[in-house]
Symmetry: C2
Subunit: 316 residues, 2 copies
């Protein structure tokens, strides 16, 4: 086991969470949540998506969301998701530092998601790199552990895409269990294989794990044993993929932070602030949340621990 | 890693699940569920609890539940929980083959649970062994990973109880995360320590993991890496401990079976039958269930897998 001493959070609630919500969320709610999460200390964030409003109307205020962050946080912490060169252009104009580009290892899923084969998506990414060389790019490698349309996805499909983006100088790569079908042994085998294969390339691996089938925490632990320390999680366990049937619920940021704290791993993010953001989302914005850690479940442990620490003090 | 090839299920829904339900469940619903789960192929089951109806009225039909199983399944698969010698007497009269005795490693929790210190509970167990030598006994070692009242529980508290029951010839021991505070590194450290310490005693370890803080599956995987193959889970994720604040939700049997199947581990239990039992509990009995695997989440994977298997077939 190669458990890291500290974890990093890529908060994805404002993008992966909000994109699947059909009712309009007022921009001021979005920007309030983005600011609360940045203040909570998440290392970085997918704040919005520059996708066509025809595809996802919820994201039509992407530029305003990005604008609101300026002066509030280092733009280097902000990712915007873009589906194509047009989105990259809008993201660049809006002033984000980083973009996330999703390409699915599964051809069926990528066709469904962005109407391109993975090869065509790589070509589009090449254009983005050429036209907007200042944008830092993350590859969000979708359906990396299985696809709802075609079942298992071979290692070779991932390797093809990773080779492709490394050729473009992209080393920020998130392995996405888009529909929550990964299991921990698969994570250890597949991620371990990729780590070994690309050991010389200094890839910054991240894990993006959906909890659709209850295995996000187990898969997180599996990744931690490999030394992976970057996790894409959503406050309140928001999220899912609107184009992937049966997919819902990201690993909740507060649940990951609790798990990490129990294991003695550090994080820059403050769990109390993340819990308060989830409460805001539930109570003020009115969205259902799906996380296990809240004030009560957290405090039961913290209070008992406090009493225990007290009891252990020498009574001199 | 020492992943087992097959897992064993101790289904605890009819005991740990039903005991925390305040509204009366008709005996015929209880017996129907017990029979469905036995037919589903769970290796064994905590079918009921011989506890005073004053403490838990829901369990007042314990004898009838046991009676209903006779002729339907080998009584050696049936555990009844007993809190004391009086309960053991009733269980013995009812004809169960096995009893489960809960003793908490945490003194505060044991006092709260059965109004005895752990030492006093061990003495009571000694009396049970003497008076009912034919009853096979499982120790359910409560708060083995933390206590809601006193925080951390030292290894030495567990060792004291394990030494005590081994002296009484009891080697069936479940390590219970009664309130869902265990983390996977703690499981690996603590369970690993106990495995090494008692390597010569042929203990049949089981894990009983609550999902209160979302870590049951991660803790299950941690235990699997140590070669642990016996898990106490509840259909539909029912359950909790009525005497432990903040405790709710066992690891769901169907979720464990899905996880195991994805990892390639065998089980005697049929996941489809367990899912149908959960649906019966939700739709006929009218209880809320809390599991991630259901017909839809399971079938998305199975159907995609089926299509993939088909596609891989040579087209000759």
């Amino acid at each position: 086991m190669n458990i890291p001493e500290e974890i990093r959070i890529v908060e994805i609630g404002p993008r992966d969470g909000f994109q699947s919500i059909k009712t309009w969320l007022p921009t001021e709610h979005k920007t309030a949540i983005v600011k609360m999460l940045l203040s909570a200390g998440v290392d970085s964030m997918e704040a919005t998506s520059f996708i066509s409003p025809k595809a996802i109307e919820q994201m039509k205020d992407a530029s305003e969301v990005v604008e609101s962050v300026k002066g509030h946080a280092d733009m280097d912490r902000i990712y915007a998701l873009v589906p194509n060169a047009k989105g990259a252009e809008r993201a660049h104009e809006a002033g984000v530092g980083r973009i996330a580009v999703v390409i699915s290892a599964s051809e069926a899923h990528n066709l469904n998601n962005v109407r391109r084969t993975p090869e065509e998506s790589l070509q589009e990414l090449k254009i983005i790199r050429r036209e907007f060389p200042s944008l830092k790019v993350k590859l969000s490698l979708g359906t990396a552990f299985g696809c709802p349309f075609q079942g298992e996805v071979a290692d070779s499909k991932l390797i093809f895409l990773i080779d492709g983006v490394l050729d473009l100088g992209i080393t920020d790569i998130a392995l996405c269990d888009t529909v929550g079908v990964a299991d921990p042994l698969q994570v250890i085998r597949r991620v371990g294989l990729l780590q070994r294969r690309y050991a010389a390339q200094d890839v910054d691996w991240g894990m993006h794990l959906h909890n659709t089938r209850g295995l996000a925490a187990a898969n997180t632990f599996a990744a931690l044993t490999l030394g992976i320390n970057k996790f894409e999680t959503a406050v309140g366990g928001l999220g899912g993929c609107p184009f992937a049937p049966g997919s819902s619920g990201n690993m909740a940021t507060e649940d990951l932070l609790f798990m990490a704290a129990r294991m003695g791993l550090a994080s820059k993010a403050d769990i109390g602030s993340v819990i308060r953001t989830a409460e805001y989302i539930r109570d003020v914005v009115g969205l259902p949340i799906d996380s296990k850690i809240n004030t009560q479940t957290r405090d039961t442990v913290t209070a008992a621990q406090g009493r225990a620490d007290q009891a252990r003090r020498p009574s001199s």
